[in-house]
């Protein structure tokens, strides 16, 4: 067999040793790169982390205190039972790391553990992806996949240093569970099934997205059964995974009995039952030969399947099994959330994904992704079926929600690595098939190429056998097997890899590495300005208000206020109580007279609003305001109506044409209070919405301005107490402003009711 270029002769032993060393080194370097590229935020600013109070409790008081921790400062005055309303995996993981390090006499602060947790786990994710891909294809593909997942922005967006979030460890657990499952299926090993269950349990403890695994694995098993590939390996691995995994997941207090009581988990249970039936039928069929009997058995399987399904329906309708939750429906009908659960739709990361963000987050991988899936179809072993299912499901989910880009990223990396590796091995493979016909026609070239790819494995083997039979490299100077053609393909590939690295670094550095509380802008001369209004305001709160002063803000800032200002908040990012959030929304959306009783009832001392109009910071509260209106409209449809906040022409405006309801709302007043004064009589332009704010001064009666940050991004208002003399607050503030009461309204005509 011919070779396209000479290969240096090295012994087989050397090759094995070198490749083992190389593999190890490459993996280590990939992990290091994965960690390093996530450190932009920490190096540029400082390690800012806002929600790790739960972890602090865990590190300080131990696990049981954490489990029983009641946080009276969150969701004031409802309080929050943290142990029972949180996925504890993240906190427990960092707590364990903290304790192990201290046991090893590394006096690390728990804060640093939390900051570095996400980068560290992304290093592990790279290794898990390597292992997973090795099960699908060869090891070089694995290395490529590990490199991809290490730096792909789609994953970095959720795992930069300081983003102490459930997803930080969840993706590692996801990939490792899948790896163990594939291994269990391949080997039919109860041991690996059990290991998969243990990691599944960890995953359940760590992230609500565990439902994805809960449905992926049964679906894989189900499809294999439908394809007629049922065997004892599947039976063993699935049964051991399901039983141990379900028991493990039920140990998490927040999950509890959900695995047996909600529809999301019924697929796993159903497939478990189905596998038992199929296994039983298979066994019986082996022992009993009769044809009619086999037919009967098949009918039995179908009948019991139908009966089981009917029982499920009955149980669901009678309330024993909770029906699909709203969050689930919103996955199928993207408009559902906007109508029924605005609180979910209000989160920007729950919006449907825009097309450019696929390229932004995955760059060239998104183009290689279908090719990789196609390659899976070509081989279609059991594990490739898994990849195909995963690819189909996750690409749907990623299209529905921006947040779920995270789920598609690993499978894109794996399949893209498969496609890329296929291209590379094809074009780097030195062997040239022998063409016995000297009349190689023009079409023959094309045919040879197709042949070469299809029979690559074959030719490779045969090439190894008869290496001696070499045609000189000089013999093929041009054509599809010649070096120039190879370079023509391989060089752009390498170029695109380099581009990929550049793109990833650029995106990571520019888009995903600024902690949300610090904004950076560039001046005309390229100098950087740090806009630090958030921390300024939070430290003001910390220094100037009473320890138990209750701060009301929209829920986005709840964790930040709790973490950085250390003050009780009404609502926070753990959005478990829709009514309470709607109450805050109502207070913000109503006029002062309606809002004041709400504020007093909730003991609110300060209100914090984010206003970007001066600076052009678009993520401010006026832009989120319609969601507040919608959420409170969901609870009080008679009092709050979205349409009232639009102009007559149906536009959302804040200038002179804004509707009266809009102008009277507390949010509008707090945002634009004294804003026109800044412009000294000139036009007060809101730079986010590019509208001119009317010059009429805004009158605040029930609240007073307490603090406004340097760039006006954060404004804090203090809620006044009831008037000491028993007046209405507007009357009191009119008196303080020097206005004269014309005539006492109630005292004028008749005396008190007697």
């Amino acid at each position: 067999m011919a070779v396209a270029y000479p290969i240096p002769h090295v012994s087989k032993q050397t090759v094995t040793n070198t490749s083992a060393l190389l593999k190890f080194t490459i993996l280590a370097v990939i992990s290091a790169a994965a960690i390093a590229s996530r450190l932009f935020a920490v190096i540029r600013h400082e390690s800012i982390i806002h929600e790790f109070r739960a972890t602090k409790v865990l590190a300080k008081d131990g696990f049981y205190e954490f489990w029983n921790w009641f946080d009276p400062t969150a969701w004031y005055p409802l309080g929050r039972v943290v142990g029972g309303t949180v996925y504890p995996g993240l906190m427990v993981t960092s707590g364990i790391i903290y304790n192990v390090l201290h046991w090893l006499n590394f006096p690390v602060d728990i804060r640093n553990v939390c900051v570095m947790l996400a980068p560290a786990f992304s290093g592990l994710t790279a290794i898990a992806t390597y292992l997973f891909t090795c099960e699908m294809a060869d090891e070089s593909t694995g290395l490529l996949a590990a490199a991809f997942i290490g730096i792909v922005p789609g994953y970095i967006s959720r795992s930069v240093a300081g983003s102490y979030d459930n997803e930080a460890i969840a993706i590692f657990l996801l990939m490792y569970t899948f790896y163990l499952w594939i291994r269990a299926v391949k080997q039919g090993s109860a041991f690996y099934g059990m290991l998969a269950a243990v990691f599944y349990g960890w995953m359940v403890a760590a992230w609500g997205g565990y439902v994805f695994i809960t449905n992926m694995i049964p679906l894989h098993a189900f499809v294999l059964v439908l394809m007629g590939r049922f065997n004892h390996k599947i039976y063993i691995s699935y049964s051991s995974w399901y039983v141990i995994g379900t028991l493990a997941s039920m140990q998490v207090p927040f999950v509890g009995f959900l695995p047996v009581r909600t529809s999301e988990h019924m697929a796993a249970l159903g497939v478990f039952g189905l596998l038992q039936l199929v296994a039983f039928v298979e066994t019986v069929r082996k022992l009993v030969p009769g044809k009619q009997f086999q037919l009967l058995l098949r009918a039995f399987v179908i009948a019991s399947f139908v009966i089981a399904f009917a029982v499920l329906v009955v149980l669901t309708s009678s309330g024993w099994i909770a029906p699909w939750t709203g969050r689930f429906y919103s996955l199928w009908d993207t408009g559902y959330a906007k109508i029924h659960i605005p609180i979910i739709a209000s989160v920007s990361e729950h919006q449907p994904t825009a097309w450019p963000s696929f390229f932004f987050d995955l760059e060239m991988l998104i183009f290689l992704f279908p090719a990789g899936v196609y390659l899976c179809f070509r081989e279609l072993r059991d594990e490739h079926v898994f990849i195909i299912i995963y690819a189909v499901l996750s690409s749907y989910f990623a299209g529905v929600m921006v947040r779920l880009m995270l789920v598609i990223t690993p499978v894109v990396c794996v399949t893209a690595a498969m496609a890329f590796s296929k291209l590379l091995t094809t074009y780097l493979d030195p062997t040239v098939p022998e063409i016995d016909d000297d009349s190689a026609s023009v079409t023959g070239d094309l045919a040879a190429e197709v042949d070469a790819t299809i029979n690559k494995t074959k030719t490779k083997k045969s090439a190894a056998v008869d290496t001696k039979k070499t045609v000189g490299a000089a013999a093929i100077k041009r054509g599809i097997y010649s070096l120039d053609t190879r370079f023509l393909v391989v060089l752009p590939l390498i170029g695109s890899l380099i581009m990929f690295v550049y793109h990833c670094t650029w995106v990571t550095s520019n888009a995903y590495s600024s902690p949300s509380v610090v904004l950076a802008s560039r001046g005309a001369d390229g100098s950087q300005h740090i806009i630090d209004d958030f921390r300024e305001a939070y430290y003001w709160l910390r220094q100037n208000t009473k320890q138990d002063a209750v701060v009301m803000s929209w829920w986005d800032y709840g964790y930040q206020i709790a973490g950085m200002a250390d003050r009780p908040t009404l609502v926070d990012n753990n959005t478990w109580n829709n009514t309470h959030i709607a109450t805050v929304g109502k207070a913000m959306a109503s006029n002062e007279a309606v809002a004041y009783p709400i504020l007093r009832q909730h003991d609110v001392d300060y209100i914090l609003v984010i206003f970007g109009g001066l600076l052009g910071y678009s993520g401010d509260d006026i832009n989120k305001f319609l969601w507040m209106v919608r959420i409170s409209q969901g609870v009080w449809p008679d009092e709050i109506q979205e349409s009232n906040y639009f102009t007559n022409r149906g536009e959302y405006k804040v200038d002179a044409q804004a509707s009266q309801t809009m102008k009277d709302s507390l949010m509008y007043k707090m945002s634009y209070y004294r804003f026109p004064e800044l412009f000294g009589g000139g036009q007060a332009v809101d730079r986010v919405r590019n509208q001119v704010i009317p010059n009429t001064p805004i009158q605040l009666d029930t609240i007073e301005e307490a603090f406004t940050s340097e760039n006006w991004i954060v404004r804090i208002y203090q809620v006044k107490k009831e008037d000491d003399l028993g007046r209405e607050l507007p009357a009191a503030s009119a008196f303080n402003a020097g206005q004269r009461l014309k005539k006492s309204k109630s005292a004028k005509s008749t005396n008190k009711k007697r």
Partner: protein
Amino acid sequence: MLWPKFKALEVLAQALVASQLLASVDAKSATGDRILVVLEPALKQGSYSHFWQSLEARGFKLTFKGPKEEQAPLTEYDEKNFDHLIMMAPSTTSFSSTLKPKNLVDAMSSHQINTLFVLSPSISEAQRDLAREFDIEFQERDTALIDDFHYSPVSAKHDQVLLNISSGLDSEAPTAIIPSNLRTSLSPLLYQGIVHTLGQNPYLIPVLHAGATGFSDELLDMDEDELLDRKKKNIVAGEQAALVSALQTRSNARVGWIGSESMLRDDSWAAQVQDQDGQASTTGNGEFLNAFTAWVLQETGVLKVVHTDHHRVNETTPREMYRIKVDVTYTATLSQYTTENGESSWKPFTANDIQLDFTMLDPHVRTLLHKRAVTADGKATEYDVTFKCPDRHGVFKFVLDYWRPGWTFIHEQSVVSVVPFRHDEYPRFIQGAWPFYTGAFLTSTVFLSFCALWLYSVEGNKKQVVAVKTKKTQ
């Protein structure tokens, strides 16, 4: 010639104060003994000597000044210089800086300065404006209370009204302000002054109003047409025509209004008067004003919470957190300050309508506090109640609210968390779960025995299995 008189009076006053200090008479007021008297030039200090004497006899130190004088400011550097203010400047239109209406209201609410407004028919617009802030509407300037059936014949216009306390006392006036012995007193009050009406302000306390035949009317002479016009007007009369009123602010500063400056004068303090029928009697102005000012200057009707406490039953120290459904005891110690027979002291306060709320957004528990005992020092009463925490976790407040007209408003709250069961506080063994216990044990036993049986049977029948296999291959 006026000046030495004034001076002499001042010396006399100082001597009086000094003598009282020597006699070591304690201040009768619970909040302090410094009074600033703002006296407008039109009113002579000497005309009210009985009034001043009665105040000084009660241990107050008086400082006199004119409304526009800047010295002796009410507050200085955000500290109060005086505890009480008597404002006798009915016709004054502009005031010194600390007495300007806005600053005065500020001082009232932030320093709890008790204020007595003494007004007259020559009331200025500034004073009427200020009164409106309290939801009190004084009648027009140069109007006065007129009663054609009860008057002193000295007055041609029947504007020196002789008012019987029993007919003029408002039904809502609390006994903390007008004690019961005064309510039945027969001596009439001599009232020559303006009338006001009260609005809906819940903190207003009506004290004295005109008798059934009294009404407010202009003092100027009128011809027939004007008289006719007046009759068409809405005339303020009878119970509507308030004469003396009070208000206690949310921060427990007390304010009083007296529509007649002449009521305080020496010649009506305890003077002999004749009514329209020529019947002579002694006026009760002195007694009435003593009682009223005693309340305004915080000598009576003052309550305080000495101590509150909460703890679990069978424990003594308070906790920051209580578990749901535990029994909690709340204790409050209340004391009242009263002046009886010239003696002022803190005494036990007894009432049977004191409530406790256990509140999170809404009261989850609302219960009566029961009187338990008088404290060891005999100055306060202990109240307590034991109740079960609601089955609802959250941040709760013990709220002790006691708002009764005439008494100091009490609002006492302490915040605690009510937390759910700890993980190890749930019952370990539940009777009703027997089927599940048996089910679990049965399943495990059956599974184990099945395994054993299966292993054994396979071991024993190895040959048979092999035989079956060979048969199949054949």
